[in-house]
Symmetry: C2
């Protein structure tokens, strides 16, 4: 389904090219071990990391030891993610690996525990492969990661390493987080599936906050199935006593074509991707109706950004006051702006966002989901910035689930995704629809 | 205003008996130094700590050093809390003091940074005096703290040490947190003012979560003024460029007498306190009208408890899986219950709570605030449990601001508070009303 930077691994059907769902099935069937899968991922990393720089920290021996522990687990104690290697964005705490947050302030920092999402994944049998590169504190200042499709281009951010590692077949699934556009944008730029669940679906404990009003743990993967499986395990929807059913692709009746307030920022590549997807869906017999959001949404993107900055100025009070010299100039600027922003206007922005949440629930109700752009276009050239979050502030602010699907390309042949957006709390329907839509995109691409 | 465990300090007008507002005024006027104030607090602690056990960690020399640094700050660089000693509940990270969370798992743990609320308080010039005792991870299992009014009785929890230290004149203000009933209940039991602001008013970064759906940073103090000042600084409503005005007591026109779903659990002491307060207000010419919450609220207290447990089972995934033997039996039980609870019912509980938030907004709208009980009664005897959160689940789940005011007593002469509850986001009105109500209670008590 994804456009791939190097499909040789896929053609050879090496374990690291398997989806999470297929890898887990192979492990359950006894045709693959956690160790062999982890080793295949590590070999891919050894080969490609000098170009991609997806990892902030990795110790192959530690990962293999964890995988071997899984292989020694008796069948009756195996969890739903038994043996699955996962990448962990480096703002997410891990007890046995440093958590550097993309900042010199935390270089080499060893947390006393695992974040909730890591501990839950491990409880289900997943293997934490290593820490993936984040921008500084998941905001703007980039890390060293390159886009695996063309290393002269950004992978996007802030979940840069997670998106690049998944795209490059280094790991089947990785944790990301989104506050502005940090899951959907890098996934779109790297040609993988990015999924930001409804707010608070994956518990955020142990994830370094950026703006507590919006921070959401999400996933980067190579299929909708993989996102659905992992989120079901982490949210508690699935458990050993109530195992998940395989995600059913469900043909939607109606999809809303929603240009969103970000549309004026769409480059031709995104316009073409979204319009092509709409056309493909219509040809498949789906009603694709234009949806215009109410006038209140005109101020939404600014409101989301204002709240983000205001929150961040409080979240980073320690770093701002004790280590100002170790912050990037762009972060210092953001925090100063957030500090200067009046609380009365912050509360107005929060009130506008709350009103829009309720208006959005009404707007999305007639549809299985909305179709929108994932990012302004393909990944920009250069590693000095990771692109704009403008296409993602809407869903981040609204707390609604969204997923980006790959399958289109831009003027340089780089990936361009389309975004599907669901109603708050109705992630299950969004994922079922997304699986069906992803299959249609693949089908049209194969023609 | 408070009933006091030992009023000699107050009679002698020692600095540690001053309210935060008065102490800050004295420092600003040059009649008191941060060092002298901190020293007075430390002397009180040295005298009383063997009985009260309010502190989990304190290093007098470190506190004095911090106070002396404040005294060396030039007038033009002094913040709005310049020289104010504060107690810090031991689930709140501090870079220069261990953060033990009331659990052997974190005994002696040194965080790499200050929590946002601590860093913001320090930025404004406050002095962190020491870490106050919390129950285990702010849930049930008690610490060693005793009620300063009678050490055979619990101080309440989970902000046990913060409430006891403020009540005992060890410190004028302390940070607490509330997820179930952890600010309002101990404040009521210890005879101080406890204030839980609207959700997310004080940034929660760096506070060990218990249930991310409800966790709220709050304050324990000896006056409404002190709560208003500190929350204005921490929320960003006040800043050196827009200093806070002194809180105006505003006479309310209408107060709602709301028995809340917890009323069947009220002991005679709480019934008498709330009814006496209502009568006093009526005699002052205030309309005090009965408010019945809609039928949806019948399931609210259970729903709040179900969500808390479900969240906690995820929040503590690391501790639960890696250190089960270091958890108290009661915590293990709670987490097991949360883990067994079906996600479908969790989502139903969250939906009920969301519905009730909107219903509550309508119910409270005609009033300046609602009047309710703060706890079942006075502090129970024994230090093996910290009492029930039943009177506090409503406001914790609703995210609305609430404040408990002292002034009444139970059958053993121990303090009993009354609770005032405001509309979400309208903390300013609640505090203005609370100041007026507190003065009326004092006036009647003085007759």
């Amino acid at each position: 389904m994804t456009s791939s930077p190097d499909t040789s691994d896929r053609r050879n059907n090496l374990p690291n090219s398997l989806s999470a769902t297929d890898a887990l099935a192979a492990i359950a069937a006894g045709t693959l071990t956690a160790e062999a899968l982890t080793r295949a991922c590590l070999e891919r990393i050894a080969e490609r990391e000098p170009v991609v720089h997806a990892f902030a920290w990795i110790d192959p021996e530690r990962a293999l030891t964890e995988a071997r522990e899984r292989d020694r687990t008796g069948a009756q104690h195996r969890g739903l993610l038994h043996g699955l290697p996962m990448g962990v964005k480096d703002i997410i705490d891990t007890q046995d690996m440093p958590t550097g947050c993309g900042s010199p302030i935390y270089a080499g920092h060893r947390p006393p525990n695992d974040a909730a999402c890591v501990a839950l994944a491990r409880e289900a049998g997943a293997v934490m492969l290593g820490k993936t590169v984040t921008t500084e504190f998941a905001l703007r200042h980039p890390g060293p990661t390159a886009n695996p499709h063309d290393p002269a281009h950004t992978p996007g951010g802030s979940s840069s390493g997670s998106a690049a590692a998944v795209a490059d077949f280094m790991v089947p699934v990785a944790f990301g987080t989104q506050t502005g556009g940090s899951v959907i944008r890098p996934a779109s730029y790297c040609g993988v599936v990015g999924y930001k669940p409804s707010f608070n679906t994956i518990n955020p404990t142990g994830v370094k906050p950026l703006a507590t009003s919006f921070d959401t743990v999400g996933l980067l993967a190579r299929s909708v199935d993989d996102c659905a499986l992992v989120v079901d395990v982490l949210s508690g929807a699935a458990s050993p006593s109530s195992p998940p059913e395989r995600l059913q692709a469900v043909r939607p009746a109606r999809i809303g074509f929603c240009r969103t307030p970000a549309w004026p920022h769409a480059e031709p590549a995104t316009v073409r991707a979204v319009e092509t997807a709409a056309e493909q869906l219509r040809r498949s017999g789906i009603a694709v109706d234009e949806v215009e959001l109410p006038g209140d949404f005109a101020g939404f993107l600014d409101a989301q950004n204002d709240v983000l900055r205001y929150d961040a100025a409080r979240v980073f009070a320690f770093e701002r006051t004790r280590h100002p010299d170790l912050l990037s100039p762009s972060l210092r600027e953001e925090l100063a702006a957030g500090l200067a922003f009046p609380r009365s206007r912050y509360l107005e922005a929060q009130a506008l966002i709350a009103r829009c949440r309720s208006l959005f629930a009404t707007a999305v109700a007639p549809f299985e989901c909305l179709l929108a752009g994932s990012a302004p276009g393909e990944a920009p050239r250069g590693l000095h910035h990771t692109g704009e979050s403008i296409f993602n502030r809407l869903t981040s602010g609204l707390h609604v689930p969204c997923i980006t699907l790959p399958g289109f390309t831009g003027p340089n042949g780089l990936p361009v995704g389309i975004q599907l957006i669901g109603a708050f709390g109705d992630d299950a329907r969004l994922l079922r629809t997304a699986k069906w839509v992803a299959a249609r995109i693949d089908e049209f691409a194969a023609r």
